[in-house]
C-alpha cells in the first residue's frame, strides 16, 4: 500500500514546499529590513508624475550600480497587441490612460477584421496595424521596432487587451528596477471576479484559475523571485514589464511558437540577461475564459507553449535549469497520477462494472492491494481541500469552498490537456491566435 503522505507529496508538490519555504525566508528578510530602516520613505514626484495619482515611491534600496535614476511612469511604454478586441480595447486603453501619459500608450492591431484599430485611435493611443496577421509575438516585435520603443523608453509594459492594470501597479513594480540586475518584473495576476452574467461554469472556471494563480504566485513565484535565488519559469505576458535594453537580446518570435511569454522568460535566464522581479502588490486583473470550450483551448495553448519552449532551450548548468527540472518533473508526474485517480476510483468503488471483463479481476486485485479509498482520500482529496481552504482564508473569499468539490475534476482535465499538448509539441504551429470570447465589463469593480 502506498502511504498517503507519499501520494500527498506527489500530488501537492515538492515545488510548493521548496519555494514556499524560500518565499517565507524572503518575507522574513524584507520584514526585518523594513524594521531596520528608520528613515521614512519619501514620496518623490518625478517629471510626468506631477499630476496627482501618478506618483511613484522610490525605494530606499540603492541600486548596486549606484547613481542610476529610478524608473518612473514617464519612462514606461505601454504596448498592447490586439487581435479583434473591439469589445474591450477602449476600456483597456482608458484604464491605462489613468496611470500613464497618452504618449506612452501604444497599440498594435494584428490582422484585426473588426474596428479594433479605429476604436484604439479614438481612445487616444498611438496605433499601428500589421500588414498581415503575424501572431502576438510577431506583432509585439514589429511594434517595438516601428514605435522605436527601445530608444524612446527605458521600460516597456506588455499588456493584453483584456487586462485591467491596478492603480497601484506601477508604484509597486517600478521600484524593483532600482536593482540594476532586474530586467523584467512579472505582474501579479488576478482574475476578474465580479463579472456580471457569468454562468455557473464560468464562475467555477474563474474560481479554479484564481486558485491556481494564488497558489503559484504565493507559493512558487514569490520564493522564485527572491533576489538571492532568482529563477522563475514565467513572466506572464498579460501585464509585465521589461527593460527595453534587453529586448534586442531576446528572440521574441521564433517560428512555430504558439505563445511568447514562456520563451521570453527562458531567454532572460538562459542568456543570463538578468533577474526577474515580482511583488504581489503589482496587480493586474485578467479575464479568464467563461466557458469550457474557451478554457480548454486556452489551457491547451499554454501547455503547448510551455512544451515548445522547453524544447527550444537546452538545459544548462544553472539554477534556472535546476528549478525547471524539478518543476516539470513534478508537473508530469502529478499529471500522470491525477489521470489515474478517476481510474482507481472507478475500480475501487464500482467493482461490479468490471465483472466478466477478462483480465479485470487481476487489475482489480492489483488496484485494491495498492490503493484504498482511505489513501486516496488522505493523499489526493484532503490536500486539495486543505489548499482550497488555505486560499479561501487568504483571499477571504468563501466562494472557493463552495466550488471546492469540483477543482479536482478540473485538475484531471488540466492533466489531460497538458499531456495531450506534450504530444503536439513536436508538430509546428503558425503562432496565429484566436482570443477567447470577450465581454464588456462594467467599470464598477475590478
Amino acid at each position: 500500500m502506498i502511504p498517503w503522505w507519499v501520494l500527498a507529496v506527489l500530488v501537492v508538490g515538492a515545488n510548493f514546499t521548496l519555494w514556499g519555504s524560500v518565499g517565507a525566508v524572503r518575507l522574513v528578510e524584507s520584514l526585518v529590513r523594513r524594521a531596520g530602516e528608520r528613515v521614512p520613505q519619501r514620496a518623490v514626484g518625478p517629471g510626468a508624475a506631477s499630476k496627482s495619482g501618478m506618483r511613484v515611491l522610490r525605494s530606499e534600496e540603492r541600486a548596486p550600480g549606484g547613481g542610476a535614476k529610478s524608473v518612473d511612469v514617464g519612462d514606461v511604454a505601454v504596448l498592447i497587441a490586439a487581435h479583434n478586441e473591439r469589445v474591450v480595447i477602449q476600456d483597456s486603453i482608458r484604464s491605462v490612460l489613468r496611470l500613464v501619459p497618452p504618449k506612452n500608450v501604444h497599440v498594435v492591431s494584428d490582422g484585426s477584421s473588426d474596428h479594433t484599430y479605429k476604436l484604439a485611435r479614438r481612445a487616444g493611443a498611438k496605433v499601428i496595424r500589421t500588414r498581415k496577421n503575424v501572431g502576438k509575438a510577431g506583432a509585439l516585435q514589429e511594434a517595438i521596432e516601428r514605435f522605436r520603443l527601445v530608444d524612446r523608453f527605458r521600460v516597456v509594459m506588455l499588456l493584453d487587451a483584456d487586462t485591467k492594470v491596478d492603480a497601484n501597479y506601477f508604484a509597486s513594480a517600478l521600484p524593483m528596477f532600482d536593482d540594476a540586475r532586474v530586467v523584467a518584473v512579472a505582474g501579479c495576476v488576478q482574475t476578474a471576479w465580479r463579472r456580471r452574467g457569468l454562468s455557473l461554469m464560468g464562475k467555477l472556471l474563474a474560481c479554479h484559475r484564481e486558485r491556481i494563480y494564488a497558489l503559484t504566485q504565493y507559493l512558487l513565484k514569490f520564493g522564485q523571485t527572491w533576489s538571492r535565488f532568482n529563477a522563475t519559469h514565467i513572466v506572464p505576458g498579460f501585464a509585465s514589464l521589461y527593460r527595453t535594453e534587453v529586448l534586442p537580446h531576446i528572440e521574441m518570435n521564433p517560428p512555430g511558437l504558439v505563445i511568447e511569454d514562456f520563451n521570453m522568460t527562458f531567454e532572460v535566464y538562459q542568456k543570463k540577461l538578468g533577474k526577474v522581479g515580482f511583488t504581489p502588490s503589482a496587480v493586474a486583473v485578467t479575464q479568464d475564459p467563461d466557458n469550457l470550450r474557451d478554457y480548454v483551448r486556452q489551457t491547451r495553448r499554454w501547455a503547448l507553449g510551455l512544451w515548445q519552449t522547453v524544447r527550444r532551450h537546452p538545459p544548462r548548468a544553472n539554477l534556472f535549469t535546476l528549478m525547471l527540472t524539478l518543476l516539470l518533473l513534478e508537473l508530469l508526474t502529478s499529471s500522470f497520477l491525477i489521470l489515474l485517480v478517476p481510474v482507481i476510483l472507478v475500480a475501487l468503488t464500482v467493482p461490479q462494472l468490471l465483472v466478466g471483463v477478462p483480465g479485470m479481476s487481476g487489475l482489480h486485485a492489483f488496484m485494491a492491494a495498492h490503493f484504498s479509498l482511505g489513501s486516496l482520500m488522505f493523499g489526493v482529496l484532503l490536500p486539495d481541500i486543505v489548499l482550497t481552504c488555505g486560499v479561501a482564508l487568504f483571499q477571504r473569499r468563501p466562494r472557493f469552498l463552495l466550488f471546492g468539490a469540483f477543482f479536482l475534476a478540473l485538475r484531471v482535465l488540466d492533466s489531460v490537456l497538458s499531456l495531450q499538448a506534450l504530444a503536439r509539441a513536436w508538430s509546428l504551429s503558425t503562432g496565429r491566435w484566436r482570443s477567447p470570447g470577450r465581454r464588456a465589463i462594467g467599470t464598477g469593480k475590478m
Partner: protein, 381 residues
C-alpha cells in the same frame, strides 16, 4: 544626449548570441524534455509497483501446509508444482494426554506418510512439520497449559521437540498451539523464547502459527495469549492464520475477506518484522445449512454448484466466490469457497504488504488455476 547614453547602456549588456545553431539546440532541448518525461514515467511506475521485498537474501517463501489426511494428494500436487513452492509443513504431530509428542495419523498410515515425506525430500523441499495441540483427534488445552506453567515440563517438552527435529533431520518445527487463555500470554512467550533459543543452538528454525488479529487484544482470549511483538522478535517465521473470518458455526460468509486480510497484515507489520510474516491462505470453504457449515474443497464446491445448477457469483468487495442451492430435503444452502481469483487477491495483498510470503492450507482439491496466479504474483525464483 539621453538617447546616446541609453544606447551605450544597451551595449554594455554583453550580447549573447545563440551559442549553438538552432537545429542542435532543438535536438538538445527535445532530449531534455524526453528525459524529463522518462523520469516522470519512471517515478509513476516506481510509486505504483510494490516495494521489492528484501528478497536479495530473504527469498519469497511459499510453503505447502499439508494436513495428514491429504498427505498423498497434497504431496502429488506439490511435486507437480515444485517450481512454485520452496517449503513444506506436514501438519502431523500432536500432543499425548501426558504431554509427550505423538503423531496425529494412525500407526497403520505411517508407511504412507514416510513414503510421501521421502518424495518431498527427494524433490528438494525443506521439511518443517507442524506440531499442534491436538490430543486424540481434538484440540486440547490441558496438556499444553500444564506444560506452560510448569518449568520442568516445559524444559522436557522443548528438549523433546529439539530431539525430534534432529532425529528426523527436519529443517525446524512449526508450532501451532491454539485456544490458549489470556493468562497464558507470558508463559507462552516464555516457551517460544526458550524453544527458539534451543533450536537456534542446533541450527534449526522455529516457526509459530498465530491467529490473525487487527489489534493486540484481538477478538478473544486466545488472541490475548499471543504476543505478536515478542514472538516476532524470537521466531524465524510468524505464520498468520488468515482464515475463518466466517467459520462453521458463524453465519455464512467469506473465509478470508481480502479487506480483513489487508488489515491483519497492516497491523502485523507494526509488530513483527515484515520479512518474518508468512500469511496463511485457505484453499477451502464452507457449505452452510441450518446454522452449521461443513468444510468443502474447491472441487466439492464446484460439484455442488454443477449438480444443483447453482449460479456461482463473485463478491468483489470480499474477493470470494459463493452460491446458494436447495438440497433434496428442500433446505437452503449457502456456500462460500476459494478459487484462483480469490487466492490471487490475497497474493496481491501479500506482495503489496512486502511480507515474506504465504503458506497454503492444502485442505484438499484446490482450483488448479491458483498455481499460475501464485507464480505470477509471488514467484519463488
Amino acid at each position: 544626449m539621453v538617447k546616446k547614453a541609453r544606447t551605450a547602456e544597451r551595449e554594455a549588456v554583453p550580447r549573447r548570441a545563440a551559442r549553438w545553431p538552432r537545429k542542435r539546440r532543438h535536438l538538445l532541448g527535445s532530449a531534455y524534455l524526453l528525459l524529463l518525461l522518462g523520469c516522470a514515467l519512471l517515478l509513476v511506475a516506481l510509486s505504483l509497483t510494490p516495494a521489492p521485498a528484501p528478497t536479495s537474501q530473504r527469498q519469497t517463501l511459499v510453503v505447502g501446509a499439508l494436513p495428514f489426511w491429504n498427505i498423498g494428494g497434497g504431496t502429488e500436487t506439490l511435486v507437480t508444482h515444485r517450481e512454485s513452492v520452496n517449503g513444506v509443513s506436514p501438519w502431523m504431530y500432536g500432543i499425548g494426554p501426558n504431554g509427550g509428542i505423538t503423531t496425529q495419523y494412525s500407526p497403520e498410515d505411517s508407511d504412507k506418510v514416510d513414503r510421501n515425506l521421502s518424495r518431498l525430500r527427494d524433490a528438494g523441499l525443506p521439511v518443517m512439520p507442524t506440531l499442534a495441540n491436538i490430543t486424540e483427534g481434538r484440540w486440547a488445552y490441558e496438556p499444553v497449559a500444564r506444560m506452560l506453567h510448569d518449568p520442568e515440563l516445559m524444559r522436557r517438552h522443548v528438549a523433546g521437540i529439539v530431539s525430534l527435529v534432529q532425529r528426523e533431520g527436519y529443517n525446524g518445527i512449526d508450532i501451532d498451539y491454539e485456544d490458549l487463555r489470556a493468562r497464558d500470554r507470558d508463559a507462552f512467550t516464555g516457551f517460544i523464547t526458550l524453544l527458539a533459543e534451543r533450536l537456534h543452538a542446533v541450527d534449526k528454525k522455529l516457526s509459530v502459527a498465530l491467529f490473525a488479529k487487527t489489534t493486540d487484544a484481538g477478538y478473544d482470549e486466545r488472541n490475548v495469549a499471543q504476543d505478536y511483538a515478542a514472538i516476532g522478535r524470537v521466531a524465524d517465521q510468524v505464520r498468520l492464520m488468515g482464515y475463518d473470518y466466517h467459520w462453521s458455526t458463524s453465519e455464512p460468509g467469506a473465509v478470508a475477506p481480502v479487506g480483513w486480510v489487508r488489515d491483519v497484515l497492516d497491523y502485523a507489520k507494526t509488530r513483527i518484522p515484515p520479512d518474518k510474516i508468512v500469511l496463511g491462505v485457505p484453499l477451502y470453504g464452507y457449505d452452510w445449512v441450518d446454522g452449521h457449515g461443513e468444510s468443502v474443497t474447491w472441487l466439492e464446491a464446484f460439484r455442488l454448484a454443477t449438480e444443483h445448477g447453482a449460479k456461482v457469483r463473485y463478491d468483489r468487495d470480499r474477493q470470494a466466490p459463493w452460491f446458494r442451492y436447495t438440497d433434496e430435503k428442500g433446505r437452503e444452502h449457502e456456500v462460500w469457497f476459494e478459487n484462483a481469483a480469490s487466492s490471487r487477491a490475497k497474493f496481491e495483498a501479500v506482495r503489496a504488504a512486502g511480507i515474506r510470503g504465504v503458506y497454503l492450507w492444502m485442505y484438499g482439491h484446490e482450483d488448479v488455476g491458483m498455481w499460475p496466479a501464485l507464480r505470477d504474483t509471488l514467484p519463488v525464483g
